[in-house]
């Protein structure tokens, strides 16, 4: 479903992604892992068009993402939950959720009830400004906001950062459920092994801007973890 080939990316004159290749199968949950600063976030931003790439190809389904302007990418069914949440601080929770409505392909202009079922706290705080929420609440809002887009592909960058344990579980359940019931393809950047193992089906290990190991989650051995994730 998603195929990334030979991507090179630079911040100014420093190269962050080096000839990076990555495949994600349709309907899978793929977990991208790697130490701090190896370029996970950078990769996702390139995929979303928030960073320009120097060369390489990005394909999602039949669409050539490298050619598609960033604003059109959500429209083709890719939703993104950024690291650090990036909620709109001065918009209310409701407004934060409504932002994505314009990009829904089914033209429904209502916030789906599902979001509130998953994160009831959002319903309680509809008229509070996004920036006023606690860190964890913001994270929930960011995920909810992505779900409003009714995506086929969901990209999550460390979605559990700062989330209370029972909700972490719940997020895991949600991801699994969406994947199972709606065939949602999920790309998940995650540092916490336990969560990655529970939710992920595939893993990709990154180092210095390249994918250095990949496979089914069962194959993620302690040896691999030690080699690529330990400091």
């Amino acid at each position: 479903m998603i195929s990334i080939e030979g991507v090179n990316q630079f911040y100014g004159s420093t190269q962050t992604l080096w000839d990076l290749d990555l495949e994600v199968a349709e309907g899978s949950i793929t977990c991208i892992m790697g130490r701090n600063g190896v370029g996970k976030t950078t990769l996702l931003k390139c995929l979303m068009g928030l960073l320009p790439i120097k060369s390489g190809s990005l394909r999602v389904g039949d669409t050539d993402f490298a050619r598609l302007p960033a604003v059109a990418r959500p429209r083709s069914g890719v939703a993104y939950v950024p690291q650090g949440r990036d909620v709109f601080p001065l918009l209310t929770v409701e407004e934060n959720l409504r932002i994505g409505l314009g990009s829904r392909r089914d033209k429904i202009r209502e916030i789906p009830q599902q979001v509130f079922e998953l994160f009831p706290v959002l319903n309680d705080m509809l008229s509070r400004r996004g920036g006023d929420l606690s860190g964890g609440q913001q994270q929930q809002l960011a995920i909810g906001r992505a779900l409003v887009l009714d995506p086929q592909v969901l990209i999550l960058d460390e979605p559990n950062e700062g989330i209370q344990p029972n909700i972490v579980r719940q997020i895991g359940d949600v991801v699994l459920k969406l994947n199972k019931e709606q065939g949602l393809t999920v790309i998940l950047v995650e540092q916490k092994l336990a969560f990655a193992r529970r939710v992920g089906q595939e893993f990709r290990l990154m180092e210095k801007g390249r994918v250095v190991a990949s496979g089914n989650m069962d194959l993620l051995s302690d040896e691999l973890v030690n080699r690529h994730l330990a400091v």
Binding site: G49, P74, D86, P89, L90, I99, R129, G131
Partner: protein, 552 residues
């Protein structure tokens, strides 16, 4: 109220006094002298020098009576000319395409058009106009047209003159229209008050003048209560003196009240101008965060659009503003979009630099206007319905242009609120300004939103320009004159809050106008600025601040 008996009594008293005081005027009363024709009477007007004119006009009034009206009116209107060739008096009206349309003054027969060289104007000046208006007033006091009568009486009321007394009485006897009767009574009572020496009639007159706000009445009363050098009343009759001063107090109380209303209106109207010029900026600067130094020039473009619209429809000035409003919105809006697409969009994330670039843009726009329209101010006509004022009473009136601008400002504000609240544009633009890349990642067409929003803000600036064209100069400096004020209003109200802009604009206007009488215009402005600076210390984010964790 026992007004009716008083009326009767008054008429009686006036009748008695009238006889005495109107003797000499009765002698020269306007019975036209049929032996001399109007044409003959008018003939000396040709080529007369200004010093001779008053006597000529007086003769016309006295000897030709109402038949002289066409001549007098033409003269008053500045349309009385004579042909150089045959010294014939004509009425000449200038034509838009040059030259004059002439007609016979007496018969009103059209005589075709002539060049300016062929005719010469009958001299006229201010003093003569005053005389003419009074004369026409006297001649039309008994006219069939109630409007004319009303104007005539109002005129006489402004300048009480014993010579008019008999005329007024005569009119009073014939008058049926109750409004005019009231006014006539007022005029008669005033004359009586000034003329009479006995206590009773004077008290009656005072009673009759109760509630009158005519400046002439107040002046008469003030004369009555004047004190001499030893602070003793000049007026001998102490009863008259006290009731006059009581009445004066009452009138002054009312005057004070109306003065307050008037100041309030002035303040709101200044405030609405501030609101209008700031509303557009509240969007481009307040919401988008562009420090738009070219805002003033976008206002200016709106004003020039009004000018061009009037050039294009010279015969429909009355409707020109209705066309100018959408046109100015479009012109300024499109220029705004152009600015956004060509300059601002390269400056995302560098809000301070927008100041520099838009400053450059403002210089370019100013010079462009100077090159295209010349550096001179352009003349924008005021439609009839925007001129003059709505008279609430004889001392309180609201000027139409200000009134309409006030309403217009509110209308624009409300429409804008609707657009921002009811369409997704309002939501999207806030999202974009808070986190551009995340908005993109949510599929918001940031480019489009930027262009539309900037266009909207600029378009509203254009609307302000239309309004300003009715209040002030339309010239290349127009924008400069308003840019500082508009920033001040937006910031005072709280950046990003449209309601704040509304409250800030109106309250600063009112505040200024209440200060002005005490301090003078300059000091008021300085004080307002100092006030804003101090106020911001108390509320560092304006009247209506953005609150919450993220705003810090």
């Amino acid at each position: 109220m026992n007004k009716l008996p008083i009326h009767y009594f008054l008429s009686l008293v006036i009748a008695v006094f009238g006889v005495v005081y109107s003797q000499q005027s009765a002698a020269e009363s306007s019975t036209p002298n049929p032996s001399v024709t109007l044409a003959e009477l008018s003939e000396p007007l040709v080529g007369a020098n200004l010093r001779k004119m008053p006597a000529l006009v007086e003769r016309l009034e006295l000897e030709a009576g109402t038949t002289a009206l066409p001549v007098l009116e033409a003269l008053l209107a500045g349309e009385l000319y004579y042909q150089r060739s045959d010294k014939r008096l004509v009425r000449a009206v200038s034509q838009t395409e040059g030259g004059f349309q002439i007609s016979d003054v007496f018969s009103t027969d059209a005589l075709g058009s002539v060049a300016k060289k062929q005719i010469r104007k009958v001299k006229l000046n201010n003093a003569l106009r005053v005389q003419l208006r009074a004369a026409i007033g006297r001649l039309t006091l008994l006219s069939d047209d109630p409007k004319l009568r009303l104007t005539a009486i109002e005129n006489m009321l402004k300048k009480p003159d014993q010579a008019n007394l008999e005329l007024l009485q005569q009119a009073r006897a014939q008058e049926t229209d109750s409004d005019i009767v009231d006014l006539l009574n007022e005029a008669l009572a005033l004359n009586l008050l000034i003329a009479a020496t006995d206590r009773q009639p004077r008290l009656q007159a005072l009673r009759e003048l109760e509630g009158s706000l005519q400046p002439a009445v107040r002046n008469a009363l003030q004369a009555l209560v004047a004190l001499d050098a030893d602070a003793q009343p000049l007026e001998q009759d102490i009863v008259v003196f006290t009731s006059a001063s009581r009445l004066l107090d009452k009138i002054d109380g009312k005057l004070g009240f109306y003065a307050f209303l008037e100041t309030l209106f002035f303040g709101l109207s200044l405030g609405s101008v501030l609101l209008l010029i700031a509303t557009g900026l509240a969007i481009t600067f307040g919401v988008m965060g562009v420090i738009n130094m070219a805002h003033g020039e976008l206002i200016m473009l709106g004003a020039y659009t009004t000018y061009v619209v009037q050039l294009l429809m010279p015969n429909h000035i009355e409707y020109s503003l209705l066309v100018a409003v959408p046109a100015a919105f479009l012109v300024s809006g499109l220029v705004g979009i152009l600015i956004e697409r060509s300059v601002i969009r390269f400056l995302h994330g560098r809000p301070l630099e927008t100041l520099l670039a838009t400053f450059g843009v403002s210089l370019i726009l100013q010079q462009a206007v100077r090159s295209i329209f010349s550096p001179l101010n352009r003349q924008v006509a005021t439609p009839e319905w925007m001129s003059g004022s709505l008279e609430i009473n004889s001392i309180f009136s609201l000027t139409y242009n200000r009134l309409y601008v006030f309403l217009f400002a509110l209308l624009v504000f409300v429409l804008l609120q609707l657009i921002l609240k009811r369409t997704t544009l309002g939501l999207n633009v806030r999202a974009v300004s808070q986190n551009r890349s995340m908005a993109k990642a949510m599929g918001v067409k940031t480019d489009w939103v930027d262009a539309m929003t900037f266009g909207l803000g600029s378009g509203v600036a254009g609307l302000a320009g239309v309004a300003l064209s009715q209040l002030t100069n339309v010239g290349p400096n127009l924008g400069q004159a308003y840019i500082i004020d508009s920033f001040m209003v937006v910031v005072f109200g709280g950046v990003g809050n449209l309601w704040g802009t509304l409250v800030a604009g109106l309250s600063l206007g009112v505040f200024t106008k209440f200060l002005e009488p005490a301090t003078g215009a300059v000091m008021a402005k300085i004080l307002v600025l100092v006030f804003i600076v101090l106020f911001i210390q108390k509320r560092p984010r304006g009247l209506f601040p953005q609150q919450g964790r993220a705003a810090e």
